[in-house]
């Protein structure tokens, strides 16, 4: 080391000092700048990958929503399904749906309330009906209409129902029923 230092100062080796300076500069540059740039580069690459992935996911979500919006406008079956289970709570719509003269059932009383919001985001209204049916066949037709009637714009969940069932007779039936109806509040 001593010799090296001595020789470096020697006028006979003038080219070594700039070489050393260049080398030291290179090392310093590599250590203080290039290294941090490299780490920054790696970090940026990771950030770009995650940001791009996030962006692609959002793009896909947006496209899915745009398709839904388009379907609601274009497809009547889709808009009917939404109206059936996710429409607003409107008394007029409920009355129009229930009071249908062709069912062979005469509704005497109806009470309804907005019920409560369900954990799934929709709400369930409670509707109680008192009615008289001509016979058990008409009763079944009416129940079919309430739950899955194609001409009915709503579908109701039968929650409670009792009536004086008698297999030996087919007489007019007076009864009451409790229904649930899904809607969006």
């Amino acid at each position: 080391m001593y010799t090296a230092q001595k020789d470096m100062k020697s006028p006979k080796a003038p080219g070594n000092i700039p070489s050393l300076l260049i080398l030291v500069l290179s090392i310093a540059l590599a250590f203080f700048f290039t290294r941090s740039q490299y780490y920054q580069y790696m970090e940026n690459k990771d950030t770009l990958a995650s940001t791009t992935q996030e962006m692609q996911q959002k793009k896909a979500d947006l496209e899915a929503l745009q398709i839904v919006a388009k379907n609601i406008e274009a497809d009547k079956a889709v808009s009917d399904t939404i109206e059936r289970f996710g429409g607003t709570f409107r008394e007029d719509a409920i009355l129009d749906s229930l009071f249908v003269p062709t069912t062979g059932v005469s509704i005497s009383n109806i009470t309804m309330n907005k019920g409560e919001k369900l954990p799934n985001g929709l709400s369930e209204a409670n509707i109680s009906l008192s009615f008289q049916s001509q016979d058990i066949t008409k009763l079944n037709t009416f129940l079919e209409y309430l739950t899955s009637g194609k001409t009915n714009k709503k579908s109701y969940v039968i929650k409670n129902f009792s009536f004086p069932f008698d297999t030996t007779k087919n007489e007019p039936i007076t009864s009451s029923i409790e229904l649930g109806m899904y809607y969006l509040d």
């Binding site: 090296a4 020789d7 260049i22 740039q37 962006m55 399904t81 039968i158």
Partner: protein, 202 residues
């Protein structure tokens, strides 16, 4: 690598100078210039690498900013669409439609009434009263003996019915235990409680 080259070159220079200083001056000069060239090459590599990384970082930063702004633009569009009540309803209905349909189907009481009528005809028993609540049905049954013979007990109809429910499969109802029967040989009365088997609901 840099340190290795540095050491190799530097030690070579030292050796030369210590041992052969006076006799091999051109060689010393050659070693010095080799060292200079090597250092220059190292600096050039470091500079090139630094420049490349610097420019690439700038490009990446720009790309990240672009992706973020695109992402924000998508967020705004999504928020705008999601504020539409029809879209909210569509999303909720789509997510919950299977459960909703399951609940509606579970309440299709007309199918249960038809099943009870069929059951009444099959076992020749009379049913009276119908109560449905939360997937459970209850009714009262009356079994009347086919003949007036003393050996003909109406309870046979009940045991046949219960046996079919205990041994059968694919039935719409599960029959709860029939724990009490009243009446006399010609006329037996008992209560029937059923639970709907949703898997067998057509």
């Amino acid at each position: 690598m840099v340190i290795y080259i540095f050491n190799t070159q530097f030690m070579k220079t030292i050796d030369v100078r210590v041992g052969k200083e006076s006799t091999e001056a051109p060689e010393i000069k050659a070693s010095g210039s080799t060292f200079l060239i090597t250092s220059g090459i190292i600096l050039a590599i470091v500079l090139a690498l630094s420049t490349f990384l610097f420019l690439e970082n700038n490009n990446l930063s720009r790309s990240i900013e672009t992706a973020k702004s695109e992402s924000e633009r998508y967020d705004e569009s999504i928020a705008k669409l999601k504020s539409d009540k029809k879209i909210i309803a569509a999303e909720l209905v789509k997510t919950n439609q299977a459960d909703i349909m399951k609940n509606i189907r579970a309440g299709e009481v007309q199918k249960y009434i038809s099943e009870l009528i069929a059951l009444s005809r099959k076992y020749k028993i009379n049913l009276s009263g119908f109560n449905y609540s939360n997937g459970k049905i209850s009714t009262a049954a009356t079994a009347i003996a086919e003949t007036t013979l003393a050996t003909d007990d109406a309870v046979k109809k009940i045991s046949t019915l219960v046996r079919d429910y205990r041994t059968g499969s694919g039935l719409l109802f599960s029959l709860s235990p029939v724990t009490s029967i009243s009446g006399y040989e010609q006329k037996r009365l008992f209560g029937m409680d059923f639970t709907v088997n949703m898997d067998n609901l057509k």
